[in-house]
Symmetry: C2
Subunit: 225 residues, 2 copies
């Protein structure tokens, strides 16, 4: 099993602030795990009892709404930590996590990571920074949800996916989402999302290869209102 102190992934999250000794200790109690695409990592209401450090892959965090629809709240990718919030509030998870592609994660039990949070100031301050940034992002999402049309939100999501997760060699978005996922991110009905995607296609802003979406005119997409 890999050693935390040598793992490159830690550079990308707050764990870079842990000391070598702390990393060695964590390395000793962590468990690695492969998660297949579509697999549930944890459920809403589940006691997570630790955090996941994502070595590879992407997952979606969603919450079941009263009307029975899932709302995707956040995507967490390679390099980031998963489950920090619930760890800190000491409550069960308020979100469900599902893998969007095959993932490789390390699970660090609550006790170990909490010990570091409460002893290593640099580490806890780093986590604080991540959260403050997340909060900013949440503010933006709230405003967008409240004030923008579905069409505009969907265009924004495509731009976001493109700039954050990049594209395959053929130019399609490297992250593959179902139409339902798209709908659940922008908060609309699947049919509505589909309709807008085909409309954007007609306007030559995007093209599709099966489920894959390729952005043809990024500037045009940004101008969508």
């Amino acid at each position: 099993m890999g050693k935390c102190e040598q793992c490159i992934i830690k550079q990308f999250n707050a764990m870079k602030s842990l000391t070598k000794d702390e990393l060695i200790r964590i390395s000793g109690c962590k468990t690695s795990r492969i998660i297949k695409k579509g697999e549930v990592i944890f459920e809403e209401g589940e006691n997570i009892n630790g955090v996941y450090c994502i070595k590879d892959g992407i997952c979606k965090l969603s919450k079941l709404s009263e009307n029975g629809k899932d709302q995707i709240v956040k995507m967490v990718v390679k390099g980031q930590l998963l489950g920090q919030r619930s760890l800190i509030t000491e409550e069960v998870s308020n979100l469900q996590a599902v893998a969007l592609n095959d993932m490789e994660v390390c699970f660090i039990p609550r006790g170990e990571i909490m010990a570091d949070l409460q002893n290593n100031l640099k580490f806890s301050f780093d986590v604080l920074k991540v959260m403050a940034r997340d909060l900013r992002e949440s503010d933006d999402i709230i405003v967008n949800m409240a004030q923008k049309t579905v069409r505009k939100r969907l265009a924004d999501v495509l731009i976001y996916l493109h700039s954050n997760f990049g594209e395959n060699t053929d130019g399609t978005l490297s992250i593959l989402l179902s139409r339902e996922d798209y709908a659940n991110i922008v908060g609309t009905a699947t049919e509505s999302a589909i309709r807008i995607i085909s409309q954007l296609k007609k306007e030559n802003l995007i093209s599709t290869k099966g489920k894959y979406i390729k952005i043809e005119d990024l500037a045009g997409l940004k101008r969508v209102e």
Copy 2:
């Protein structure tokens, strides 16, 4: 000027974790300020350079959307700290803060509070907890925005205001918001909010005395879909 170490307000926020010495130091450099209803505490994009500890009153945090409408993202009340996020991300504020009634606040300059954040583990961990809870709340707001009707959201807001800020002796909500504020919280047009309020009135779920709103049937309001 009041002394932080004797101030009761600190019990309600993370400052309770500061040592007596730290509080005395902060007391020496803080500035008290009275803010009138409607006054802007800080603007979106402004460098806040510290945090406000709210001794009395309530304010709204809002963000200007591209369509020119303000979206109210959060309400911050007596006992809470204002501006922590921007302090931590070391960026300009992403929100505007406006007083909803006459307020009394203490301003603590960045340097002082940062020093404590980076030295007092208990304090920074407390702030971490507050933020983790805020993030949970944001998740809920996002889901509600995305999945619920304006009518349902407005009913929820009324219930929220009632349970969090209480009522006057005549039973009206003790917090007084304009119709536009209501609209800006639920993310709708002012006229839409007005229409729904008058509809709820017809259904005898609420009544109004001028701008004041009184909840007549809390259980009924909760059943609104």
